[in-house]
């Protein structure tokens, strides 16, 4: 490869670098134990730059544990972990300078005012006061808290504090934003505004790592996700892929009353491709839900209520773990 002109080198190299683009986070055999208890049980995943990556799982799955190990605020027990090419253990402070961390539990300084919280947090990154003055205003707009700028944090509602915590995590213009259950406590309106804004942050180049146990959030927000349970990865893929792989196109929900749900199953045999019995309802998985309903009616089974809906990640989770994600 003697003397290639710069132009032809570009043409040659671009596709190569794109296909082997360095992950911003890579975990191999990542483990965390507390005494005998295994919280994270050897998980592998990679997060690519600019994507929105999700960890979906029920309470206690190990999501926060994983997030904290990424930020280096929790020592891992074993495995390899690299964030932007650095080890968040020994290089934690440097790693964190690149991150925006939104912890599951708010830790705002309640003695300070709303705007001051943003500014003081920016100071931890060595940002100048003039930069922070402008930044704080933008972040207040992001959190829709302009009117509360001078209030004490104590006087904010739970959802407002949550929004402030999220805005605070953006003060250093992070390369990677770690969001641990970002929308907990937000009203539906605020959740949608947040999803929209996070989506646009991603478009502007910020990598998002999101944990959630809301399937709609995962579906809306994540390009790719891992389903975690008991510290292990149950499945990985885009929301669409996961639904295609682990579920059918549609789901029929039938309620026969809690006493009958279990007994009616035998009579449903052969309807749809799979049947799942929950305490309060029976789920029939099928590609054509209406056809299923007709078949149910033809067999003379009269459910109290019935509903045909599209498959969701909830169904994927149910299939993978035999448990409902949200009880």
């Amino acid at each position: 490869m003697g003397d290639l002109s710069p132009g032809s080198r570009d043409v040659e190299l671009t596709p190569v670098t794109e296909s082997v683009v360095e992950p911003v986070i890579s975990a191999r055999e990542l483990r965390k134990t507390y005494g005998d208890f295994v919280a994270v049980d050897g998980i592998d995943f990679e997060v690519r730059p600019g994507e929105s990556f999700g960890l979906l799982g029920p309470n206690g799955a190990g999501k926060s544990t994983t997030m904290r190990m990424i930020g280096g605020t929790l020592d891992r027990t074993g495995g390899d972990l690299a964030v932007l090419g650095m080890d968040p253990g020994p290089q934690g402070p440097t790693v964190r300078a690149h991150l925006g961390v939104i912890p599951q539990q708010d830790n705002l300084d309640e003695e300070l005012r709303v705007r001051e919280n943003l500014i003081m947090y920016g100071r931890y990154f060595g940002l100048s006061r003039s930069f922070l003055a402008a930044k704080a205003d933008e972040l207040l707009a992001f959190a829709q808290l302009e009117a509360k700028a001078k209030e004490k944090v104590q006087s904010l509602s739970g959802g407002m504090k949550r929004r402030l915590t999220i805005a605070r995590g953006l003060v250093n213009e992070p390369k990677i934003l770690l969001l641990d259950e970002p929308t907990t406590g937000l009203d539906p309106q605020a959740r949608h505004v947040l999803w929209d804004r996070l989506f646009r942050l991603k478009e502007a180049g910020t990598t998002l790592v999101v944990t959630t146990h809301f399937m709609d959030e995962a579906e809306q927000l994540c390009d790719r996700l891992i389903v975690v349970d008991h510290g292990r990865i149950m499945a990985e893929g885009s929301p669409r892929e996961l639904i295609r792989t682990y579920s059918t196109r549609e789901v029929v929900e039938l309620r026969f009353g809690s006493a009958r749900n279990a007994t009616v199953v035998a009579e449903l045999d052969g309807v749809g491709s799979r049947i799942e019995v929950l305490p309060d309802r029976v789920l029939v998985y099928a590609d054509d839900g209406e056809a299923c309903l007709e078949e149910v009616a033809r067999r003379g089974l009269a459910p109290v209520t019935s509903l045909v809906r599209r498959s969701s990640l909830e169904d994927v989770f149910l299939r993978l773990t035999g448990r409902s994600l949200i009880d």
Binding site: P93, A97, V101, F125, G126, F142, E173, L307
Partner: protein
């Protein structure tokens, strides 16, 4: 469960939301230094950043704090100088070769800051880890846990520099000490405070419970330290079996140094060195212990 109508409603909410917020500059304004520079600044100045944050959140207490810093020495000087001093003066003439007010003032300066530090390095530390979780904010930035520990101590030190200076000014104004070397009582008072405060901070950080131990510390460590550290009478006056309290007490070591600079109290050179060494060693040991405990708690 999301049903068809639910997702339809979600769609309209998103669709109706015309957002003119500029997310691009939010993600990258071009005005911020690189993240490597941010990491470097946090590495160098992180302790100061955290001290600033702590001082700011103490701001609500500035007025009561100042009132306290002015009121306490005034009360002590009036009570000791005019009341107790007159009594002692009439009986024995002088203590340690000086009048009682001169004798007791350096001790009061030192013991009031050491008493104050027990408030600053107990409940606020527990609040940082547990009640308010304020340590976890900076722990998620480029700061090291050791800087969070040191920053908190630094903020308290800055507060005590102010408090000791006020005490000293009042003492000078009332003729309880003279202008000059006595100004060294300020750093001596602060050093005595850190000699007790830094280990106390580490101890407080090591507690996972609700801090009921603090009232024991107050009753069985702070109060005896105040009463048996040669504050109101020379240590030598006490029976020998009580004198060990003084030797262990930062208040006594600090007080003896403060007397030296305040009115030139005499003593062997080696003893002066011991006073300084004890205070410095206790401070350093506390800082190192705190660093370990903070690191453990903020990474596990």
């Amino acid at each position: 469960m999301t049903d068809e109508t639910g997702s339809a409603r979600e769609q309209t909410v998103v669709g109706h939301h015309h957002d003119d917020l500029d997310t691009t500059t939010l993600a990258y304004s071009g005005q911020a230094p690189s993240h490597a520079v941010m990491a470097q600044r946090a590495h160098r100045f992180g302790t100061w950043y955290h001290a600033e944050a702590v001082l700011r959140s103490m701001r609500a207490f500035i007025v009561p704090g100042l009132l306290n810093a002015v009121g306490q020495p005034l009360l002590y000087i009036i009570a000791m100088g005019l009341g107790l001093g007159a009594l002692v003066g009439n009986g024995v003439g002088t203590v340690d070769g000086v009048d009682y007010l001169t004798f007791v003032t350096p001790a009061l300066l030192v013991s009031t800051v050491v008493m104050s530090v027990s408030g600053e390095m107990t409940y606020p530390v527990m609040a940082g880890f547990k009640w308010m979780r304020t340590y976890y904010g900076p722990a998620a930035t480029g700061l090291r846990p050791a800087q969070i520990a040191a920053g908190h101590l630094l903020a308290v030190v800055i507060r005590f520099v102010v408090q000791c200076t006020i005490f000293w000014v009042i003492a000078v104004a009332f003729g309880a000490t003279s202008l000059g070397w006595s100004v060294l009582m300020v750093p001596i008072g602060v050093l005595a405070a850190t000699a007790f405060g830094a280990p106390l901070q580490a101890y407080a950080a090591s507690l996972e419970g609700e801090g009921f131990q603090f009232s024991f510390v107050q009753r069985f460590i702070v109060m005896p330290m105040f009463l048996f550290s040669g504050t109101f009478f020379p240590l030598a006056v006490m029976p020998v079996y009580l004198q060990w309290i003084g030797w262990l007490s930062p208040v006594w070591h600090g007080t003896q140094l403060a007397r030296l600079v305040s009115y030139g109290a005499s003593g062997p050179g080696w003893l002066i060195a011991v006073h300084v060494l004890v205070l410095v060693a206790a401070t350093l040991a506390g800082v190192m212990w705190a660093r370990r405990v903070y690191t453990r708690r903020l990474t596990s």
